[in-house]
Amino acid sequence: MRFIISLAFKNLMRYKRRTVITAVAIAVGLMMYIFVDSLLLGAEYESMRNLRWYETSSARIMHTDYREDRRLMPLDVSIEDPYSIISQLEQAGYKAAPRIMFAADLILHSEDFGEDGNMAAQVTAVDPNLDNSVFRFADTLVEGRFCEPGTNEVVIGSWFAEDIGAEPGYWITLVTRGNGGFYEAMDMQIVGIVDCPNPNVNRTLLMVPIDTISDYLAMEGNATEINIALPESEDSGKAVERIQDMIDPTGKSLVAVSWEELAHDYIALAEAKRGGTGMILFLVFIIAAVGISNTMLMAIFERIRELGMMRALGMNDRDIQWAFMVEAGGIGLLGSTAGVLLGVLMNLYLTVKGINFGRFMRDMDMGYRIQSSITGVWSLGTIVTAFFFGTILSMAVAYIPTRRALKMDIPSCLRHR
């Protein structure tokens, strides 16, 4: 075996150009595999994180009757005295914040916006003192400031602001139905613009102070939801069970739900996408495999005469088979090592800097909750798989043509062109 390894190594060194070209083909294929896998996993991971950070929070408490109708945003089924529940949650170590969600007609005035207009909008009433402890809007402010409690102030998503031509200082009017059904019209001044990484939020966000809205809409201090931030490491299912036991063990009036339930539609979509993602990776895998196979086949076929000479000199077929496979494995090892190194380097850039897809994301909705930059994630499994795949596949593809060559008689091998 030592002789075979030594022979394979000598051959690798003898055909340097071929070794390098084949190894580069393997390296590029594996690097692409590691890169694409990191990008797709990163998109999914970041999407889920942006959902929790800006849209659903980790878990939410709502009125039991609100759960089914939450898309209609009814105000008459709400949580009484939300701050006592929040203090209970804080004692248990959870950060929580109340919100009121409601639908409104957004009226734009020509004095500020150049022309009059109106559109349907979803409004999020938040407690300015607590909301940023659960959601991560604090770092997203790009203009102005956040709204103050008790004021007629509104903070708007940057894409929404671009769409309607809004700037801090402009006034808008929100016309909606209060708790019970009465009409209310509220003049609000835009005081801040946030550039939220979650495109769904950035396209629609209108954030107003909860106490102002509570007065306007006769909510009497109630909230339609209490959002909870859980530590990243905590199992949301178990935490939700614990919270449910804490607030209402029977679940008759209040219910705690995890972000997975709140983002049920997205998760179903993500699972469907995962099938597509697997297909993309499979295609990358096939491209890498075809590249490796092709170069190895070429390498074996051009050396059939050499193989015939080795047989004529008395080397047995089994040793020749092993010599070629080890040589192929050597090329695979070189290529895999280079591919993994290149893949790691590219992934390093991807995880630190990311790639900005902002121009594409702005005008289309792919379902992912990513606004512009996609950053990669480290997947040790993928790197190890890529390494072994490159080496073993090289050996495997060397096996078949060598075996076929060994079935030829020696004169045919020597005459082979």
């Binding site: 639908a103 009059d116 139905r177 009465f182």
Partner: protein, 245 residues
């Protein structure tokens, strides 16, 4: 001079007496009576004018008492669309999608066929005194007609317009004009009757203009071409089953 003063005082007294002869509640009761029929059938059109142009949608409508009404659109673009209001419930039916939608909350405010009339306005309940406290403000002329000017302040939070000011004809008790506002007095909608018709001894609006004051440059006219009152109606008309047929 003395005689002139006495005459003036007498005239003032007579005016005050005639004003106080009828209370605000009585005016509202008569107003509701004029607008409410045991049953009715009507045909008409909604003409919407906005910056994109003029759009006409025709309809047939059936009503029963103060709470039940059904509207079916007959114009080509909306043919077969139905709006059913029963006590506290409002449903839409779209024939193309064979879909029944229950409206609630903010959805009730949605504009009907792009007009300035919301689904709720079109099918609104007519039991004013149960919903509002009423105050007689003054008398005022609208066009050629003398009107009582009444202010309605909502008793509950379940009515759409917390404050209304209406101009009710002193003789026919038809509402000539209405201003619909939020609790703080922010004007949301304005209604003005442009033409009237007499049906079964009652003077009723024939052409009404409604303007959403939150949207500039838009107005909607509702025209009734035919109105029959106290007609025989199948009670099943106001059922959900009928809506999907």
């Amino acid at each position: 001079m003395k005689r002139r003063i006495i005459m003036s005082i007498l005239f003032a007294l007579i005016t005050i007496a005639s004003l106080s002869a009828i209370t605000a509640e009585e005016i509202v009761r008569k107003m509701d009576e004029t607008e409410t029929f045991a049953t009715s059938y009507s045909e008409g059109a909604i003409i919407t004018t906005d910056r994109f142009g003029v759009k006409t949608s025709t309809f047939k409508a059936w009503s029963r008492g103060a709470y039940d009404s059904l509207i079916e659109f007959t114009s080509v673009a909306e043919r077969g669309q139905k709006v059913l209001r029963t006590s506290g419930e409002l449903y839409l039916f779209y024939p193309d999608a064979q879909e029944l939608i229950r409206l609630q909350g903010a959805a009730l405010r949605q504009s009907m066929l792009g007009s300035d009339i919301s689904y709720e306005d079109m099918t609104g309940e007519k039991d004013t005194l149960a919903q509002y406290d009423v105050k007689l403000l003054r008398q005022e002329r609208v066009g050629e007609r003398n009107c009582h000017v009444l202010q309605f302040d909502a008793k509950t939070r379940t009515v759409a317009y917390p404050m209304q000011v209406v101009w009710v004809d002193t003789e026919t008790y038809m509402v000539w004009k209405g201003e619909f506002s939020t609790k703080t007095g922010r004007l949301l909608k304005e209604m003005l009757v442009l033409e009237t018709m007499v049906v079964d001894g009652r003077t009723l609006p024939k052409v009404t203009r409604i303007a959403d004051k939150m949207k500039r440059d838009s107005a909607t006219e509702m025209r009734l071409d035919r109105l029959e009152i106290d007609v025989n109606l199948d009670p099943a008309i106001f059922s959900l089953q009928n809506l999907t047929w």
